[in-house]
């Protein structure tokens, strides 16, 4: 493509997506940001007109301890989740790229959890943790499993771990697909040469497999980062943000991630504009973190 800087084909091929993008993302996003500076309610309150109120919504965020808590909690959750999902899915990918008999069946099996929507998935797991696990405990003679104090969803810390378990279960197969593609793209000759040289499996992993899949890591880390940060469906259905815990001297919802916090602010507290403001803050932070993550990864890729 050495002719014009932006040949006609550039615009022709881009136009449809640019159109959809502006229509569905850009305009609503700008509108949404605009709403965060107003007293928008999405309802029909008497005597209220839509008016600009500046940074009032943003100031309110600072006064609410639950937002700070949700923020910190989401960061912690994201870190755990990213590690759990990537370790699990990479391991699974390594497993299913061997010449196993049931290879395709296993791949499908690991992927299947991703086929259910998050809401239903959360309810199923809520059922598992609250009802099935105690039953199994009783059946196995482990009475402590059935005790109320030991219920996983009864305490904030274990409930958060439950969240990580469920979302790992949900996403591992999805991310595994990406790793499988990357692993199967590694030239056979490299691996065979290493085997002939007598390199142990662990050495092969670190010297060949990991470096050759660096590009996949950039993608998967980005995807798991963004998806963990945005987690909503499973949060709502598995824990509903509970149980409660103390923070800054106030009882607040103990497993309420950021997306749920925003949703509750908008819909439960009937403060739609406030919810928008929180969403804007959320977006800014996530953008910043993603940029950092991707640039670090890109640098590593180039070093290859």
């Amino acid at each position: 493509m050495k002719k014009a800087k932006h040949p006609a084909i550039f615009w022709i091929f881009l136009l449809p997506v640019l159109f959809a993008f502006s229509l569905v993302i850009v305009v609503p996003f700008l509108l949404g940001v605009w709403y965060s500076f107003t007293n928008w309610s999405a309802t029909a309150r008497l005597g209220e007109t839509l008016r600009f109120i500046g940074l009032e919504n943003y100031a309110k965020i600072l006064k609410d301890p639950s937002f700070a808590y949700s923020f910190l909690l989401t960061v912690v959750y994201t870190i755990f989740n990213m590690v759990a999902i990537n370790v699990a899915s990479f391991s699974l990918a390594m497993l299913v790229t061997r010449s196993l008999k049931g290879k395709n069946v296993y791949r499908a099996g690991f992927f299947v959890p991703n086929l259910i929507g998050g809401l239903i998935l959360g309810y199923v797991w809520q059922f598992v943790f609250n009802n099935a696990v105690p039953s199994i405990g009783t059946a196995l003679g482990l009475a402590s499993w059935a005790q109320a104090e030991n219920l996983v969803l009864g305490k904030s810390v274990s409930a958060l771990i439950a969240l990580v378990i469920v979302s790992t279960w949900q996403y591992a197969g999805y991310i595994m697909v990406i790793y499988v593609a990357a692993i199967e793209n590694i030239p056979q000759e490299l691996i065979e040469a290493a085997q002939i040289d007598g390199a142990s499996p662990l050495r092969r992993l670190f010297a060949i497999t990991l470096p050759m899949t660096r590009q996949a890591f950039t993608i998967t880390l980005f995807l798991t980062l963004v998806n963990s940060f945005k987690q909503f469906d499973v949060n709502v259905s598995l824990t509903a943000g509970g149980p409660a815990t103390m923070f800054a001297g106030q009882p607040i919802l103990g497993t309420q991630l950021l997306a749920l916090n925003i949703y509750n602010q908008g819909f439960r507290s009937n403060d739609m504009a406030g919810g928008q403001a929180r969403a804007v803050v959320f977006f800014l932070v996530l953008t910043l973190v993603s940029i950092i993550q991707v640039s670090i990864n890109k640098k590593r890729e180039i070093e290859l």
Binding site: T43, R45, L46, A148, L151, G242, P243, M246
Partner: protein, 409 residues
């Protein structure tokens, strides 16, 4: 294959009937099927299409959210449900004045603001401590003693000692998990607000809203909450959902249930045939012999609706036609809020509510004077912490007091 799909698409879009009908959006999915059946019959009889939308429960959205989306989409229903003052305030600019409707004179619980009627009461509901009469009889507890803290304490102790003989896991089936916060921070909260007070007396409500707390009343209330939590099945209390809470009582694993007469259909579903009735809450040292009865939800009419007349007729017919009455009472199992309706629901708990109402032993539902935000975000976590044992009774009282003081404007 593509051609077939295209054809189907065209057919579906093409046959869109844009007839002028009415849409009703309500928040009780459990009556969805019977309401739709009634609406279809009414629709055929009156030649006006009716669309029923039921939202709620575990589907991930609730009615408030759905209505907001409908408003933004320009698709506001003609009739929709609201739950009290705060809800009304959200939609006040859209709600039609129904003071001139015929049914107004037949009910005492219509939703009124400044003397004008805005809401059609959907049903009369009541709640208290539902008890398994057979179990109580077996152990020798007289339900008539269940009118104050002391009475309940004695009864719970007796029942607790007899757990093995009765085959129950715990005396009380109570829920305090965050997604069951409505049981504690909406319903149980009423004990503090209106137990023992004359119907419609808002003195406690008003002083709390002004940030003034009656320490004695709160302390007695805290004792009651502590008692309930103490004798409740911890698993159901901290992580149970509606099914497990109601199920425990219905399948005979608990002697008391902290819910209302809306659980009657669940009792039928679970084949719970034992004798049951309501007893008052024991939240005070003094005797209180009534239960909480009111019409909690109302239908309002969208004043910008293109079919106001049809909407008004739909509501009217619920009250004045046989089919409407039958739907309300027999099919949906609701206690009618209208004096002219002579039918009675068959559920035991509904019958119990009607008995209390008939003898005037009722207390108000006053939780709606507090914002949903306050109850869900501030109060529910306090109850939850208390239930999980993370805070003591003293801390519970302190946090509740702090919460009310913060309401002072």
């Amino acid at each position: 294959m593509k051609k077939l799909l295209l054809a189907i698409a065209v057919a579906v879009i093409g046959t869109a009937a844009f007839a002028q009908g009415i849409t009703l959006a309500q928040g009780k999915p459990e009556i969805d099927a019977v309401l739709k059946a009634y609406a279809e019959a009414w629709s055929t009889a009156n030649k006006i299409p009716v669309t029923i939308k039921s939202v709620g429960g575990s589907s991930g959205t609730d009615l408030g959210t759905q209505l907001k989306a409908d408003l933004a989409a320009g698709d506001m229903p003609d009739i929709f449900g609201i739950n009290g003052l705060e809800d009304y305030k959200e939609w006040a600019a859209l709600v039609a004045d129904l003071s001139g409707e015929g049914w107004v004179k037949n009910t005492s619980v219509a939703f009124k603001v400044d003397g004008k009627v805005f809401g059609f009461p959907v049903a009369v509901e009541g709640w208290g401590m539902a008890y398994n009469a057979d179990m109580l009889k077996k152990v020798g507890v007289d339900p008539k003693t269940l009118v104050n803290y002391a009475g309940y304490k004695a009864a719970f102790e007796k029942l607790d000692k007899a757990k093995a003989t009765l085959g129950i896991k715990s005396v009380v089936s109570m829920a305090a998990a965050i997604d069951m916060g409505w049981v504690t921070a909406h319903h149980n909260f009423n004990s503090l607000l209106s137990n023992g007070l004359k119907y419609g007396d808002l003195s406690v409500v008003n002083s709390l809203l002004a940030g003034k707390v009656d320490a004695k009343r709160l302390s007695e209330y805290a004792d009651w909450v502590e008692l309930l939590f103490k004798y409740a099945d911890k698993a159901v209390l901290t992580t149970g959902n509606y099914d497990s809470q109601v199920g425990a009582f219905a399948t005979g694993q608990a002697a008391f249930l902290h819910q209302g007469n809306w659980t009657d259909p669940n009792m039928t579903q679970a084949n719970a045939t034992f004798k049951m009735a309501f007893a008052p809450h024991g939240s005070m040292a003094a005797k209180t012999d009534g239960i909480f009865v009111a019409a909690p939800s109302f239908y309002v009419i969208n004043k910008n609706s293109k079919s106001i007349a049809a909407a008004k007729k739909f509501l009217n017919d619920l009250v004045y036609t046989e089919a409407g009455n039958k739907y309300m009472v027999v099919d949906a199992g609701m206690i009618p809020a209208f004096s002219n309706v002579k039918l009675n629901p068959t559920g035991q708990l509904s019958k119990s509510v009607q008995e209390y109402a008939a003898s005037g032993k009722i207390y108000s539902w006053s939780q709606y004077y507090f914002t949903g935000d306050f109850r869900d975000k501030t109060l529910a976590p306090i109850y939850n912490q208390f239930a999980t044992g993370s805070i003591t009774k003293k801390q519970f009282v302190d946090l509740m007091t702090k919460a009310f003081v913060s309401l002072k404007k």
